[in-house]
Symmetry: C2
Subunit: 220 residues, 2 copies
DNA sequence: CACTGTGAATACCTTCACAGCA
DNA sequence: TGCTGTGAAGGTATTCACAGTG
């Protein structure tokens, strides 16, 4: 029985995907010194229905007070724990093209507790460059980053041709979570989790929904 | 009866979200001069099960040949039509920070037929800058872009504080599809579609899945 | 009394199992 | 025979309706 099992009840995936949104809304409330919030208010702030919010929170436990609402600090802390954000999750970004450089310079990571500990590239001509104040390192540094700095999450920002190789390098070094921005399907062994975010895919989905309503100027 | 209704049968959202992946795989096959493909092969290339692929394709119509498979060109063309990618979808990027600049320089948009026709920013100090060869324009240019160039999709790459305002400007100018990279919930009138992609959210989801398996060094 | 927490109902998505066809 | 297309079954996610409680 591992220590982690205490925290980890069975939370549905769809629910997990919404928890970060709740946490963001709670953080904003806390910044405005709001101590208590109803499911209705929090749901609105997070862009979901209050029923769904309550159902989601019920998977974490019973942290609300009937007739009153939720304590903002308390709930934020419970969600933080559920998501596993009490430990830190050092991140490395692989691929220093446009997107990689932008991600390297992006503040949002650090703000939410994800420390970018290394920037890497497979191209020796790029290795050694300075990006956002850091020196770009070669892929062979990966194993040391895992062992010495606890590197846990790899962000792939390479062109799609190099994505699988970058992923293999990360996995071989011991990284078990990958956020992939390349438009490619990555294959990984069991136990490694990949999430792919593809900009073109998103635009294509928007195009589909857009056509529904965009065309009817031709109604004659 | 609008012209668009011909194309648009009722395709489930989950299915629509996978079509771009199939299209990408088909495009790769076509580049390698492969003319025909089975559901099994295509499914593998797209990272889904063959049953799911066939079910998804069945929503578009019957374009396979039993005992043989699918004609690559034909199927690509059917998906292209279903997604509404036969018309073009001019894109504007709002917010010329790090992410906006990276998106402006990103090739992937054009490759898949999304023409970036304008870069904008609400900050007068940024307006006039050159980014990726284009001059950054002020927000007040939006209505003209919609009318004169058919601007259809707005990409929001502003800080989260400015996202709702950017979105309102886009919507007011007549844009009905928004891809939002700011970590914020955007409210829009009916008929406008927003998709939000948030990097921190993705990392937090990875953290959740990672903790499941990361901790057990403490097994005693 | 207001608001949370939850079983039951519904809607949606995926997988199974196999009928149908080149 | 081999592979597609699909009704039916099984799961998962969301919504409803209301019981429970500070």
């Amino acid at each position: 029985m591992s220590a982690a099992a205490t925290t980890r009840r069975d939370i549905p995936d769809a629910s997990v995907a919404r928890l970060p949104g709740y946490l963001r809304a709670l953080t904003a409330l806390a910044r405005n010194d709001i101590a208590s919030v109803s499911s209705e208010e929090l749901a609105t702030a997070a862009g979901v229905s209050s029923t769904m919010l309550r159902k989601d929170l019920s998977h974490l436990g019973s942290y609300g007070v009937r007739g009153v609402g939720y304590d903002v600090e308390r709930l934020a802390s419970e969600i933080t724990t559920a998501l596993g954000l009490t430990q830190d999750w050092p991140v490395a970004i692989v691929g220093m093209g446009n997107l990689g450089r932008a991600l390297a310079a992006y503040r949002g990571f650090a703000e939410r507790g994800f420390r970018v500990i290394a920037l890497l590239d497979g191209d020796p001509r790029v290795v050694g460059d300075r990006v956002a104040g850091d020196v770009v390192r070669p892929m062979r540094d990966l194993p040391d980053l895992v062992v010495d700095h606890g590197l846990a999450i790899g962000v792939i920002a390479t062109p799609s041709a190099g994505a699988q190789e970058a992923c293999d390098d990360l996995v071989e070094a011991g990284v078990r979570s990958v956020l992939n921005f390349a438009p490619a399907v990555l294959s990984v062994p069991d136990g490694v989790v990949v999430r792919t975010v593809d900009l073109s895919t998103e635009l294509q989905i928007l195009a589909f929904h857009g056509q529904r309503v965009a065309a009817p100027e031709v109604v004659a």
